[in-house]
Symmetry: C2
Subunit: 125 residues, 2 copies
């Protein structure tokens, strides 16, 4: 019998984070897919949040702790709030190690956003 005290609880929700969708030029988004993708774009719609996201994404080894990214001119609680929003939207994953929480970009989600906006060459429009 397993001991409930030793069961590891995942930090991230178990729900699917892998989207979706054909390039936006090839097919109309369904209402459900539009709601899902709009939530992802919303996570990047704040300049400070986008800078934090870029700091994590461009950090060596693709991983950063709060201490690595906090110099964006806002308070520590605001930084934590923004990182939480990015995590809730599926764009970052997090892992606690010792006293710090480390953040990584979730490549499948970001790739889905990029693919959705993948347009043919300008001349094709």
């Amino acid at each position: 019998m397993s001991n409930p005290m030793t069961v590891e609880v995942p930090v991230l929700p178990a729900g699917p984070v892998t989207p979706c969708c054909a390039p936006i030029t090839s097919a109309e988004l369904s209402p459900a897919d539009a709601a899902k993708m709009a939530a992802m774009f919303k996570a990047l719609s704040d300049p400070v949040r986008l800078r934090l996201f870029s700091k994590v994404a461009s950090h060596p080894a693709g991983e950063a702790c709060v201490c690595d990214v906090a110099d964006v001119g806002v308070s520590q609680p605001t930084v934590s709030h923004h990182l939480k929003k990015l995590r809730e939207a599926g764009l970052l994953t997090s892992q606690r190690r010792g006293t710090w929480v480390y953040y990584r970009v979730e490549p499948s989600v970001v790739a889905a956003m990029s693919a959705l906006l993948d347009t043919p060459a300008a001349g094709a429009f």
Copy 2:
């Protein structure tokens, strides 16, 4: 001396709409670039607006008039408001022909958003 009544005010700002930026995994965004790119992501952060954008983008010939895209379950003024926001963010351009305004995706802006989110293969993270 110019007559202020005859000065033509451009509908679109004259500033450059062509962004920006290296892939987010390769370099940290500057505050100025983050502000610019966040405004573009904000334009896609509303589900109805994103559906309208996808309807224009996926329409034959990459062009659509209001009459082609208005069936998204909101009022005509709301559709017009969302299309205006997409135009102001640089994601759509518009052209009046006769009684209709026709909208097109601005490929350079959308390509810049996609490129910013262009991540290496998942394994590289």
